[in-house]
């Protein structure tokens, strides 16, 4: 690879990894703010999002620059295309972390709800999916990426369980309906984050193998 293109790609790798780390940290903080009913931490998550937005723009500009100036092909082309898409997914995960933090800020001063569901467990599973998808990106590990795609079904099932639990709880605790609806939103946001992590894993598979695995759930099994 020509040295000038190599330098640009190395720079882009550093930028996307930095964005990965920031998004992961913000999601972790958003989940903690729910678990610990910590509105201050929730506010930090909301404020940090502008940093993620700026990083997303920088990554996109770097990708466009490489496409325009170096006309990458084959593995380099797939890398740039994958980074463009992963960049988009990471920015959306950042937004969903903000949404979770907003729910946390609302719930912080409300009485705890009577619901037999472990949100922390669901959040940890989603965080693990995101971490694994980013590890798959860093290590170009398609086995790990396939595992992430397979794990999405578990999160979908948990989200459905939350819906049923919330439905049951609303019938018993009318005064907690607003809080329950906020918790339902949190579950929905976590489920969407898992979808974005799955997208990232699919893009890693495309980047490494050149195969498009989207919309082919049977291939994860």
């Amino acid at each position: 690879m020509p040295a000038h293109m190599q330098n640009e790609i190395e720079k882009l790798k550093k930028r996307i990894l930095s964005l990965c780390a920031t998004v992961e940290t913000n999601l972790w903080a958003a989940v903690r703010s729910i678990a610990e009913r910590d509105s201050n931490r929730a506010q930090e998550v909301i404020q940090n999002d502008s940093k993620i937005d700026n990083m997303e723009i920088d990554v996109e500009e770097d990708c466009l620059k490489i496409l325009a100036l170096h006309q990458p092909v084959a593995v380099d082309l797939r890398f740039i295309v994958a980074v463009l898409k992963i960049n988009n997914d990471l920015e959306r995960i950042g937004d969903l972390a903000v949404n979770i933090a907003e729910r946390a800020a609302y719930l912080a001063d409300k009485p705890p709800v009577n619901m037999s569901f472990d949100f922390v467990d669901m959040a940890e599973k989603v965080q693990t999916m995101l971490k694994n998808s980013l590890d798959a990106l860093v290590n170009l590990d398609t086995d790990l990426a396939h595992a992430v795609c397979g794990a999405d079904d578990t999160i979908d099932a948990l989200n459905r369980r939350v819906y049923l639990e919330v439905e049951k709880a609303t019938k018993k605790n009318f005064d907690q309906i607003p809080s329950l609806l906020h918790l339902l939103s949190v579950s929905r946001h976590l489920e969407r984050i898992a979808d974005h992590a799955t997208n990232i894993a699919e893009d890693v598979i495309y980047m490494v193998d050149g195969r498009i695995t989207r919309h082919k759930t049977e291939s994860y099994k």
Binding site: M1, P2, M5, Q71, V73, A74, L77, R78, G210
Partner: protein
């Protein structure tokens, strides 16, 4: 010319039928290969117009190309890429036997054009080169008028009638997208044209003998980007009527103009596939290393 084309197809079709079961297997392989590709990537043709089978070419004891087996499909553009000295020009020049001009050369295997073994003893080289035209890296018009450059081939073929020659010159210059620029001064010396115009004149000269295959050996490497763009547009237009094989060092050009790309290295054919596949997800590491500039 249409009759000529259908004649080519019929001849190849007859030959392929005679080859029997092997071809059926090859066709199935081709079918499954094309099914695995995106529809946009495929430009499926029924049969090949140039077919090399275990073809090797030697300059004395030095090997030029080794065991090349590939098919070139009609009415399409096939690009040959590879590092210097990999044998791509040797293979291209072997298709109209212009390498015969070099002493102490020999071949092994077979090379068929329109179903005929062109290295068979009975091959008429004049007819072969009429069927397989060539355009070189540097524009090389004859030191004659524009008209005489184009009419040179048809005159050799025995066309002497003025109106017929006039018609051939006009058609050839139109096909080479040069007519509008030179129609008012066909008696002007061809050497007075710009480099890009000279190259299109050479293409028109090659088209004047109504070839079925047009070989292009780095046809744009001596041209500026504007003239290069015109030649590439011309290739796009010509491929509906002609089979074009182009050797180029410019990989973006290969990606832009061709349907299929062959990657040669050290005299061997490493990979031959649809161009979008080669440039998005090549099957061989060597190909990927070359096109991404990691080679060596």
């Amino acid at each position: 010319m249409q009759n000529n084309k259908s004649g080519v197809l019929e001849s190849v079709s007859r030959r392929r039928k005679n080859k029997g079961k092997l071809n059926l297997i090859m066709d199935r392989q081709k079918q499954s290969k094309s099914e695995s590709l995106n529809n946009k990537d495929t430009a499926e043709c029924a049969c090949s117009i140039v077919e090399a089978e275990d073809f090797s070419f030697y300059y004395g004891s030095t090997m030029g190309v080794k065991n090349i087996t590939m098919e070139v499909f009609p009415c399409s553009v096939t690009a040959i890429i590879g590092p210097s000295g990999c044998g791509k020009s040797t293979f291209l020049r072997a298709i109209n036997r212009i390498n015969d001009l070099i002493p102490n050369t020999r071949i092994e295997g077979t090379l068929l054009v329109n179903g005929h073994d062109i290295y068979a003893k009975k091959t008429n080289l004049v007819n072969l080169r009429q069927q397989v035209g060539m355009v070189f890296q540097k524009p090389n018009p004859f030191p004659k008028s524009i008209f005489d450059n184009i009419a040179y081939g048809p005159r050799l073929q025995g066309t002497t009638k003025g109106s017929k020659l006039q018609q051939i010159v006009e058609e050839s210059l139109k096909a080479a997208a040069l007519w509008e620029e030179v129609k008012d001064d066909l008696r002007k010396s061809a050497l007075a044209l710009s480099g890009g115009q000279q190259q299109r004149l050479c293409i028109a000269r090659a088209l004047a003998t109504r070839p079925s295959v047009l070989l292009m050996d780095e046809p744009c490497s001596a041209l500026d980007p504007i003239a290069t763009g015109k030649i590439e547009d011309l290739i796009e237009q010509l491929k509906s009527d002609y089979t074009i094989v182009i050797v180029t060092h410019n990989m973006q050009q290969a990606a832009r103009v061709s349907e299929r790309t062959a990657f040669f290295c050290l005299g061997e054919l490493i990979e031959y596939d649809f161009t979008p596949k080669i440039f998005r997800n090549p099957g061989k590491k060597q190909t990927e290393d070359y096109i991404t500039g990691r080679f060596g």
